[in-house]
C-alpha cells in the first residue's frame, strides 16, 4: 500500500517539476508593485521635511549640522512603505526595487542629502534651506513679505509680538 502511495507522489513530482527557486543563480521574483529601498533625487529635493514627518519609523530625518541642513535616510530602519514618495511635494523620492542591502557596516546603510542654508536676518541661525525659500517664492509669485523669508520662526514671533505691542501702546516703529 505504501509503495503505491509513493509511486503516486512520483508521478505528481514528474508532472509538477522542481519547486525550489535557484535564487542566487537566477534573478529574484520582483513584482511590479514591489517596493524596495527609496532614492532621494538631490536635484529635485528642496529639504522641506514633509517626508520626515510622514515616515512611520523615522527612517528619514532632517536636521542642522553646523551650517548645513542634512536629510538623512537610514535604510536599516525603513519599512519600505513608500509613504515618503507619495507625500513629497517635489516628487523627489522614487521607490526602487533594490532589496539586497545586507552589509557589515551600519554606516553603509545611510544616505544623506546636504542642503545649503538661509540664515536668519536677526539671530543668524540657519533655519531653512536655500532651495526651499526659492521654491516658496516661485509657488506664490514673489508675493511674500521679505520678513517671512529671511527671519526664523522664533524671531518672527518676537517681531510680531513687538508690532502688536507697539500698535496697542500707540508707539510706532520697531
Amino acid at each position: 500500500m505504501r509503495m503505491v502511495k509513493f509511486l503516486k507522489m512520483l508521478s505528481i513530482s514528474v508532472r509538477e517539476g522542481t519547486a525550489t527557486r535557484k535564487y542566487p543563480f537566477e534573478s529574484p521574483l520582483v513584482t511590479p508593485e514591489f517596493r524596495g529601498k527609496i532614492e532621494v533625487d538631490p536635484v529635485k529635493c528642496v529639504g522641506c521635511g514633509a517626508c520626515t514627518r510622514i515616515c512611520p519609523p523615522k527612517a528619514l530625518t532632517i536636521g542642522n549640522e553646523g551650517d548645513e541642513i542634512v536629510l538623512k535616510y537610514f535604510e536599516g530602519r525603513c519599512i519600505f512603505c513608500g509613504m515618503c514618495a507619495y507625500v513629497c511635494p517635489q516628487k523627489a523620492i522614487t521607490v526602487s526595487k533594490e532589496f539586497e542591502l545586507a552589509t557589515w557596516e551600519l554606516g553603509d546603510l545611510y544616505d544623506e542629502v546636504v542642503h545649503t542654508t538661509v540664515k536668519c536676518r536677526i539671530c543668524g541661525k540657519p533655519f531653512t534651506t536655500v532651495k526651499f525659500v526659492k521654491e516658496v517664492e516661485k509657488r506664490i509669485d514673489n508675493k511674500v513679505p521679505e520678513d517671512l523669508l529671511t527671519v526664523c520662526p522664533e524671531c518672527r514671533k518676537k517681531l510680531t509680538a513687538r508690532k502688536i505691542g507697539s500698535k496697542v501702546v500707540g508707539v510706532s516703529g520697531e
Binding site: 512611520p56 525603513c78 552589509t103 542642503h115
Partner: protein
C-alpha cells in the same frame, strides 16, 4: 544587573582569535552553517520569512544551512525583532551559549534599527543597542551582518548569509551628496 548566570564562569576574551583565526574558520564554515533562530520580540513577519527560507521553495539546505534547536550547536544566530526589555536576559544567555566564532545576522528593520519600535519604552531598538549590553556582559560577537527589510525577503536572507561568509561583497555604500540647484 542582567541575569547572565551561566555557572559563574567568565566568558573568555578572544579578540586575538577573532583577528587571526576568523578567516581560517570561515574557510571551514563555507562547508555548512548551522543556524539558530532567535526571536527577540518580533511581530513574526520576519520569522515567517525565516521559515520560508527553510522550506523546499528556497531550500537553504542546498547550501548546507541547517536549523538547529540549541544555540550550543549553532554557528549563526538569526536575530529577529527589536529586542524587547523582557527578552534581554534570555537573548544575552542564548548568544553567550554559542561557541566561537559567534556570528549574528540581524534581520529586518527591527533587528537592524528597531523598526517602528525604535524608541518605545519596551524595546531596546535593535541589535546595535543590544551589542552594547553584550559588551558589558563580556560576550564577544565575531561578525555581524545587518539585513534590512520589513519583513526581510527570503532572498535577502540568503544574500545576507552570502555576505556574512564573504562570498559576496555588500552593495550598499554610504552616500553623501549635495543638493544640486536645479
Amino acid at each position: 544587573m542582567l541575569a547572565v548566570s551561566d555557572g559563574g564562569k567568565p566568558d573568555l576574551t578572544m579578540s586575538e582569535f577573532a583577528l587571526n583565526k576568523l578567516e581560517e574558520v570561515f574557510t571551514k564554515l563555507k562547508r555548512s552553517v548551522w543556524v539558530f533562530h532567535l526571536n527577540t520580540g518580533s511581530c513574526n513577519g520576519c520569522d515567517i520569512e525565516v521559515l520560508d527560507v527553510l522550506t523546499p521553495y528556497f531550500d537553504v539546505e542546498r547550501f548546507g544551512i541547517k536549523l538547529v534547536g540549541s544555540p550550543r550547536h549553532a554557528d549563526l544566530i538569526l536575530l529577529t525583532g527589536p529586542v524587547t526589555i523582557k527578552t534581554i536576559g534570555k537573548v544575552v544567555r542564548a548568544v553567550k551559549a554559542m561557541p566561537r566564532p559567534r556570528l549574528v545576522l540581524a534581520l529586518g528593520s527591527c533587528g537592524v534599527g528597531g523598526g517602528i519600535w525604535f524608541n518605545t519604552y519596551a524595546t531596546l531598538g535593535g541589535y546595535p543597542q543590544l551589542e552594547k549590553i553584550l559588551k558589558d556582559a563580556g560576550v564577544e560577537v565575531d561578525r555581524v551582518v545587518y539585513v534590512p527589510g520589513c519583513p526581510v525577503r527570503p532572498e535577502a536572507i540568503i544574500y545576507g548569509v552570502a555576505v556574512l561568509l564573504g562570498l559576496l561583497q555588500p552593495k550598499s555604500k554610504h552616500r553623501r551628496v549635495s543638493a544640486v540647484e536645479g
